[in-house]
Structure formats: structure tokens, C-alpha cells
């Protein structure tokens, strides 16, 4: 059973806020999705780990130095910036 506490804890992990008045509906919704996912509970498996598709394997190459993007380009999409850095205010009152 998914409880209100579960939903609060998952939201905390996912960095989402859940308002008090949304909690009941969200818990019910989570329960129905979890019930749907539970369909695999009794599925037989051979216990083999599955780690990739299409037999992918690591491809190694020489480390080649290439030009990086200019700092101002990278900062173009940031809301707040200062001195070539992303700005994250400790507090915003």
C-alpha cells in the first residue's frame, strides 16, 4: 500500500513539492500506477542480469583535445550569473 508518507518521501527524493490538498489524490494515483507495475511480480525470470541491448561494448579512443564552448555561450541560458559563474543565491527574500 502506498501511504501519504511514501508520497511525501518520494517527492522529497525527486525534489518536487506536494501540497497538502494534492496529497490524497496523488497517493491514490501512485497506488494505481504501482498496482499496474505489480503485474510483473509473478512473472517467471531466469534471474540473468540484463545490462545492455544489441551487444553494446565499450569503445575506447585516444583522448583528443578539442575546443570547448566559450563560457559566455554556456552562460547564455542561465537566469542568474555573475563573474563567469552560474549564480545561486543562498537566500532570496
Amino acid at each position: 500500500m502506498v501511504s501519504h508518507e511514501d508520497v511525501i518521501q518520494i517527492a522529497r527524493l525527486a525534489k518536487l513539492s506536494v501540497k497538502e490538498d494534492e496529497l490524497e489524490a496523488m497517493t491514490k494515483e501512485m497506488q494505481s500506477i504501482v498496482d499496474f507495475a505489480d503485474a510483473i511480480n509473478n512473472a517467471p525470470t531466469d534471474g540473468e542480469e540484463f545490462d545492455n541491448i544489441n551487444n553494446l561494448s565499450n569503445v575506447f579512443r585516444e583522448d583528443v583535445v578539442v575546443e570547448s564552448y566559450p563560457t559566455e555561450k554556456i552562460l547564455e541560458n542561465a537566469g542568474d550569473k555573475a563573474d563567469d559563474c552560474f549564480l545561486v543565491k543562498k537566500r532570496c527574500l
Binding site: A11, F36, A37, I40, I53, N54, N77, A78
Partner: protein, 490 residues
Amino acid sequence: MAEVKSKIRAINEMLTGKEITCTELTQQYLDAIDKSNGDLNAYVNVTADTALKAAKAVDDKIAKGEELPLLAGVPMTLKDNISTNGIETTCCSKILEGYKPIYDATVWKLLQQQNAVLLGKTNMDEFAMGSSCETSVFGGAKNPHSLNHVAGGSSGGVASAVGGNIAAYGLGSDTGGSIRQPASFCGIVGLKPTYGSVSRYGLIAYASSLDQIGPITTTVEDTAIVYDAIAKLDPMDSTSQGNKGAGACATLKNDIKGMKIGIAKEYLEGIRDDVKEAILNACNVYRSMGAEIVEFDLPALKYALPVYYILACAEASSNLGRYDGIRYGYKTPTYNDVNDMVCKTRSEGFGSEVKRRIMLGTYVLSAGYYDAYYKKAQNLRGTIVKDFKNAFEKVDVILAPTVPMTAFEVGKAVSDPIETYLTDICTVPINIAGLPAVSVPCGFNAKGMPIGMQLIGNTFAESTILNAAWHYENATHSTMFKSAEMGVKL
């Protein structure tokens, strides 16, 4: 019998034969967008200036007598999760409002090398999470065959634009059916390539082990042309393997006599009667062309949907962790501290379906549930892969419905998430197994809405499925394909 004419080849001949300039053609498409996009809501960002500039470059090439690549000057569109340098790319989410990538996705780079003309970016379910395009922050794209019906999702905008003749072709992305389902709903062709054949570099990630970019076009040959252009090895995507064959165009018209086409009974369970009838009719078309229809079982198929939603949401919860308001996109205006800023930004920036999937993904990855859900789903993924592998020892191609039904009416899909998830039953197994599949039109229901079928191939067997699709299309085109009454007529 006259062969179905490729739209891309037709445009190429018009341009090189100087029947029309690329600027004139592009303007025709832009005028058609102006006229129809209010109804279709296919485009979320029309890039008229960029398009006309690219068209002018093509005209200059023609004037100088330079050789023109096949895709040069062909007006096209990209789904709004494919990065375009300097052009807003939002994934149709508030959280990426105003975001302009500083680099191009590899697929877009490849198409620009062929002088492609980008008309604009098209609508999609927010972060490609949805089956109707209606989770888009811009509202859903409509079906060119009936504006009361959705175009499908998540690449609904591309399918609506291509089906409505306001783009000659487009690129979408397919994580659980997002190219094939809207192509099926809009009566056109859509290919989900083998995992690894098309670079994902610059595709804004939903579920990285399932995502794949592919073409949406009006003809099978167009799909083969675009696939050949974008299936290239790319060092920027560590899972990229490129196109391992000679290319899909080379073998498109080969004889299919003796080709073994598999039908799995599990694929015909729970689908609407009109769709089932269309699939069985397609079997008869193939029989008449000398192909052999082989019945086989896919027992693990029944677990595909929960496996898909567990894995896709788990990957999404991790991939979407990057949206914190600091480096790009939306940022909440007021907050107390850093944690509050991130939580508020995400809660205000993401729509409800995205939040639902992030929550489920976080749940299945959290302590105490990881083994029961994520690990179990990964094991079952292995079983599904094996089931398909066994099938391809007996058959060359698998024939299946693309969707168990035709396009939903507007507003019907968003009311019940689980009901909507169930409609992905035919498409998700292909992403789980990393296989290629193409959806082609195979009939209409009583209301005139298109029905689609999938031809599924073994790993890197795009050439085989497109070869099978081309023959079906040529045998049935006059009855199975109907161009919507709008957009540019060539």
C-alpha cells in the same frame, strides 16, 4: 503498375529541373503553415527567416550548377526535443521556456550538410511523455484527417505537419512508440530505427536506453532516404553504431518472394476488430506477393507494458534531475533557500504527467523497491529480448498492429493515465528489445480514420522491413493512403 512517387525525389526533380525555386517552394510551405497551423497546432515555433535563408543557399547552388544532395531544399520539421543551435527547443515544457541550445543535434547537423530547409519545431507531449500530444504546454496537435481527433503522441506535431502537408518530412523520437503511433493515427509512415543506429546526441533525453530518433514521411521511400541520411556512426553518442548495412534505399525494391513474415497471436489479442481485420488483410496482400505467413508465440509480450513503464520512468527520474533552474530554462521567482528553489522550480515547471512519471521512477529506484521493480523489470527485459531473438530465427519480419485502435477523440486520452498507457501495448516491446519497426498505413475505420501496421525487424534490419513495407505500399497505395485536404500540393 506505377510506383508510388517519393515526395523527396519529386521535390528534388522540381528544384533541379528549375520548375520552381527553393525560395518559392519554401514560401508555399510557410503560407500553408500560416493557413493551417491555427487548426492543426502542429508547429510550436515557425522558423521562417532561417528557412528562407537556407532556401536561398539552395537556389544559389542550383544557379551555380552545383550538385544537389537529395534532401537539399526539401522543407522539413524537427520535433521540439531535437536541439537546434540558437533556435528555441522546449520539449513543449514550461521548464525549458526560452531555452536556446548552443549546439546542434547530430541528426540536424547531418541534414544541414545536405542543405535541409527547417520550417520550424513541432509539438509533442511534454518531454515525450504521452500518447496524444496533449500533455504539451502548448496544447495538443490535431489530426489532419479530423480536427476532432488527436494526431497521436508523443511526436504528434511532426505527424500532424507531415500528414497535413505543411512539411515534406520530419524527424521525431520514439521511446515507446512516439514515432509509430502518431504516424499510424495520421495515416503516414514512421520508422523507429534500431537502438544505436541513429545518434541521440542533442536529443533531449527521456529514457536513454529506449530513445531513438527516426523519420516521419508520407512514403516508404522517403523514410528510407531520410534514414540513410541520419544513420551514421557518431563519436558523440557512446551507443552509436551507425547503419550497419548498405543503406535502406539500395535494397528497397528487391523481390520479397519467400520472405517469412511472422504473426504473433499475442499481438492480435485485445485489439479492435477493424484493426485486426486490416492486419489480417495485410497478411493476404503479402501472401499474394509470394511471402510466407508464419504464426509464432511471443509469451513475454504480456509483461512488456509494466516493464516499459518501470524502466522508462526510472530513467526519466534520473535524466530529468538536471532541471533545477540554475543553468537553463524556467526558474521560480521567489524562494527561501537552494533546496526550496529547486523544488519550486520543478513543481511549477513540470506538467502533471511528467511529475507522475518522475515520482514512479523515483519510487521503483528507491531503497526497498529497487529489487522488486527495477531489477525485476530489467530481468524481464532480457526475457523479452530473447523471445524476439528466438522469433527471428524463424521469420524475417514480424507484422503487428501499430496501435490497438485508431486516433483518440480530443481530450479522451488525458483523463485516465493507466487506460492511456495500455494503448502503447503494441509499440513498447520494440523499444524494450532495441529493434527497428516501421508503421505504414493499412486501412481506415468506418469513420475514415487511418489504421497503421508495424513491420518489425531484427537488429539493424531496417533494409528488410523497409523493403517489405515498400512492396505493401505499392500494392495498396490507392486504397490505403489518402492525402489530407490541406497544405502544399506538389
